[in-house]
């Protein structure tokens, strides 16, 4: 069995100290050691975007990021979007626009969209497309996803 090393991760404002093989990706450690399975495994090749998480606010493919490299940074996963049982405006908008058919790509897209809205509260379609162009969706198509991001941005601005 592979030697394990101690990894300390700051995920969604909480500290996780787990033992994992040093070459394991952030995706593997989040899912298998931290029990945070909201981050999805789609290809483990950096192609589909289902594993997208935020590191210090920027979207990354967690399947191409080593857990060890992520120490000392703020990691946000889909589980960290809601406040208690209150959904993040993006989550509400995705539910309301029917932007999640099977929902498997949704966690990754939500985080990519959050990174966009955090730095640009009034994105146009081209900027939205750029932001989520690294995330594949096979059921919903992307139309409802645009509409959901639009709606969430409007909701955030009107607050």
């Amino acid at each position: 069995m592979t030697d394990r090393t101690l990894v300390a991760l700051d995920v969604n404002g909480q500290r996780y100290e787990v033992a994992a093989p040093p070459h394991h990706t952030l995706l593997e450690v989040l899912r298998e050691e931290c029990g945070l399975t909201g981050t999805k495994h789609g290809c483990e090749l950096g192609e589909c975007g289902a594993c997208t998480v935020l590191i210090d606010g920027a979207p990354v493919y967690s399947c191409l990021t080593l857990a060890l490299e992520s120490q000392g940074h703020e990691i946000t996963t889909v589980e960290g979007l809601a406040t208690g049982n209150e959904l993040h405006p993006l989550q509400t908008a995705f539910a309301e626009e029917g932007a999640a058919q099977c929902g498997y790509c949704t966690p990754g897209i939500l985080l990519a969209a959050k990174a966009l809205l955090d730095r640009n509260p009034r994105p146009d379609r081209a900027q939205m497309a750029e932001a989520i162009s690294g995330n594949l969706c096979r059921c919903t198509g992307y139309t409802a996803i645009y509409e959901a991001i639009d709606r969430a941005a409007a909701a955030a601005r009107s607050k």
Binding site: M1, A129, R138
Partner: protein
């Protein structure tokens, strides 16, 4: 209790008609009328499981981590055809954490001696972690004897031993019809192998408790998985419980149990520990099914004024190593147009590639591309508007059975679609773009499909002591929102708010329910759920009538109250049984047979607008207008989403998707999402969705049929026709790549 009986029924599933006996109970009721005041059905409602899906709480099969769980990794053949001589697992077994390696010798039920495609299973390694199993899989040494193979479809068609005639159809006399024709289009079309690439990989997790096997699987058909797995481990149906709470896409590739289900089940029983067997992305592209590549020849004859005299369609579908069935590629030609003389043949062609499977409207997607391209070529030759040609050959009756349709509003799909697309702006020869090298064009194509559903499907509803209801049904939600539709139907008939109706679905200890396939889940199960709710209501009213001292027929349910007459006595539902401590009102419903005298089919029309760069051949799809007719829409929000998703998948099929095989090695060259191009957000056009509002009241007690597959059917031909209109490039091969456009421009 309602009496049970066996009835004859006819169901259309994936383009084929099945006549089967079905057990039903009680009697059916008529569909809601057009002026019925419905509070849930027909209204956009949020997904009942929306919060779970957006919060990361939805648990998919791939997310399952059971205590003591082992991981299975399949060792696959690198040869397209070979005999397995010897499997040596010594080095693999020596790796720490490896618990078992099985091959044909130790598990003959899981492996064949001969492998017939690259990726065929040869052995399975079981380890404490996924990584250990994967590492050990590389250490299994296998000796093969290489055998001859063919992976190329055209090459296989030339080899008679690989070709089987599976279906043929004729009416009238095609030969005479062609003699009567003034103009004949005779064209050959080819389509690529499309790979499903569900975002959630195929997989299963099995746990054996010494008596019973529990299998979690990402599946569209829990009951078929149960049957297949029970057979694999030689168990009874009740020995196996299949669970599918959430699944990440299927599109036809998750109908029936997989090899992974057998591996998980057999090894869980053998090793006494839970087994997880989940595919990786490469395996998704090699072994979990695909849409058949096709070669098709279509001949259409017509008089000078555009009346069809004959139609001939011959299709060869590459099924890989799948030797059982073939998708109905010629179905659209057999049934779409009013033409007296038709002849079609459907051939299955075996190649040494991964087996095909159903893929969203299998056959009809491929066949519609050929037929509707040929119709456009005919319109061009006749100098007729393509829409006018289609209207001229409009079938008022079903051309195959001679029966009326339960509903056909294709004419409205054409008119409304033309309006939304601005079809009057279309010009023969296309229009100019912003630059001289950009050409714009428009194209149209038609969709026909079944999706009427049918029995068997059953549901029970339990009404609790606090006036909440639980719907229990053998349903898995593929992601389309069936679950929400079912809740809406139950809430409607129970006069309850949607949030007081909970679903208990996603496992096989429930009454039998249909697969999530063939566009028929809601149309099959929905009517049974409605009847179960009616049964609950009847019992409630009987008791309430006694308490209120009126006849049951004089009261009705509104807003959680039993109400006598207009403005009469009111009784809250939770008061009806208030003297009882605990109780359950159990309602039962079953799906009744389809009407015999009419044909149930859905129709639609897609209009595409494209821009072609004639320097590079690049096609940009600007807009797709999709107008469909399925009768009643249970949830407009989900219906719209279903169409947008179908169009997007069709867009990939039309312009970018296609498996690439190396003829010499038999390997798939693009078995990943980098080289196999599914549409990204930047590729999608403006998609305009509309539905014909008319109800299909003859179809079933909901008044509507299925929508899952129709939106993917006509798009590719609409795009091909728009490209031809834009710049004169008739591309008869999918996908429509820049190279193919340039080649067509040079012709």
């Amino acid at each position: 209790m309602p009496s049970a009986r066996v009835v004859k029924n006819r169901t259309e599933f994936e383009g084929k008609i099945y006549e089967e006996l079905a057990l039903v109970q009680g009697a059916d009721i008529p569909a809601w009328s057009a002026d019925a005041e419905l509070r849930h059905v027909g209204r956009s409602r949020l997904r009942v499981d929306g919060p779970q899906r957006v919060s990361g709480r939805a648990r998919y099969t791939t997310d399952l981590m059971l205590p003591g769980m082992l991981h299975a990794r399949v060792v696959r053949s690198p040869h397209p055809h070979a005999r397995v001589i010897r499997v040596d697992a010594k080095r693999a077994l020596a790796l720490a954490g490896v618990r078992s390696v099985v091959d044909r010798t130790s598990a003959p039920e899981l492996f064949d001696e001969e492998v017939h495609y690259v990726g065929a299973p040869v052995a399975v390694v079981v380890g404490e972690t996924e990584e250990i199993a994967a590492d050990a899989a590389h250490l299994v040494e296998i000796e093969y004897e290489s055998l001859p193979f063919v992976v190329d479809l055209e090459e296989a068609i030339a080899d008679r031993t690989r070709v089987q005639r599976k279906e043929s159809y004729s009416r009238g006399d095609a030969r005479r019809g062609f003699r009567e024709a003034d103009i004949v289009v005779d064209a050959r079309y080819t389509t690529s192998t499309q790979l499903h690439n569900c975002l959630e990989p195929h997989g299963a997790v099995a746990q054996w408790d010494g008596e019973r096997l529990t299998l979690w699987e990402s599946t569209q058909a829990m009951f078929d998985v149960r049957k297949g797995v029970a057979k694999a481990i030689r168990a009874r149906l009740d020995d196996v419980r299949v669970i599918c709470d959430y699944m990440g896409g299927g599109f036809g590739s998750k109908l029936g149990h997989g090899h992974y289900s057998e591996i998980a089940a057999v090894l869980a029983k053998r090793l006494g520990r839970p087994i997880r067997c989940v595919m990786d992305r490469r395996e998704e592209n090699l072994v979990t099914g695909n849409r058949s590549a096709t070669v098709q020849r279509v001949r259409v004859g017509a008089t000078k004024d555009g009346k069809l005299t004959a139609l001939e369609h011959v299709a060869w579908s590459g099924t890989g190593t799948e030797d059982g069935w073939v998708a109905s590629t010629t179905g659209p030609s057999n049934g779409l147009y009013e033409v007296a003389n038709v002849r079609s043949e459907q051939f299955l062609v075996l190649t040494n590639t991964g087996p095909f499977s159903a893929f969203r409207a299998p056959g009809y997607v491929e066949g519609t591309f050929a037929l509707e391209s040929a119709m456009d070529e005919l319109a061009d030759k006749l100098a007729l508007d393509p829409l006018a040609l289609r209207r001229k050959n409009y079938a008022k009756l079903d051309p195959q059975s001679g029966k009326h349709y339960s509903l056909k509003r294709l004419d409205q799909c054409y008119s409304r679609g033309a309006e939304l697309a601005g079809w009057s702006r279309r010009k023969a020869g296309g229009t100019a773009g912003r630059h001289a090298y950009l050409r714009r064009g428009m194209g149209v194509s038609t969709q026909v499909w079944g999706g009427g559903g049918g029995p068997p499907a059953y549901a029970t509803i339990h009404l609790n002591a606090d006036g909440t209801a639980i719907v229990r049904a053998g349903l898995q939600d593929i992601g389309s929102g069936t679950k929400t539709a079912i809740a809406q139907i139950a809430a409607e008939e129970l006069s309850l708010p949607l949030e007081r109706v909970r679903l208990s679905i996603g496992e096989t200890d429930a009454p039998y329910g249909p697969a999530s396939g063939g566009s028929m889940t809601t149309a099959s199960l929905g009517p049974a759920v409605r009847l179960a709710a009616v049964d609950v209501r009847r019992q409630l009213l009987e008791v309430a009538a006694g308490l209120m001292e009126v006849r049951a027929s004089e009261i009705h349910l509104t807003d959680g109250h039993a109400v006598a007459g207009r403005g009469g006595k009111k009784l809250a539902l939770d008061e009806v049984f208030s003297k009882l401590q605990n109780y359950t009102v159990i309602g039962r419903g079953s799906r009744h047979p389809n009407p015999e005298d009419v044909r149930l089919r859905s129709f639609g029309a897609h209009f595409a607008e494209v821009e072609v760069d004639i320097r590079t051949g690049a096609v940009r799809v600007l807009k797709i207008v999709a107008v469909h007719q399925i009768g009643r829409i249970v949830n407009p929000l989900n219906a719209k989403s279903q169409v947008e998703g179908g169009v997007t998948q069709a867009l990939g099929y039309a312009v970018s998707e296609g498996r690439v095989l190396d003829r010499l090695s038999g390997h798939v060259m693009n078995a990943n999402l980098e080289d196999y191009k599914i549409p990204t957000v930047k590729d999608v056009p403006d998609i305009v969705v509309e539905f014909v509002p008319d109800l299909d009241r003859r179809a079933n007690n909901l008044g509507g049929i299925g929508l899952g597959e129709p939106p993917i059917i006509p798009t590719a031909a609409a795009i091909a026709n728009a490209v031809a209109n834009a710049c004169g490039a008739r591309v008869r091969t999918l996908p429509i790549t820049p190279a193919r456009v340039l080649e067509a421009l040079r012709r």
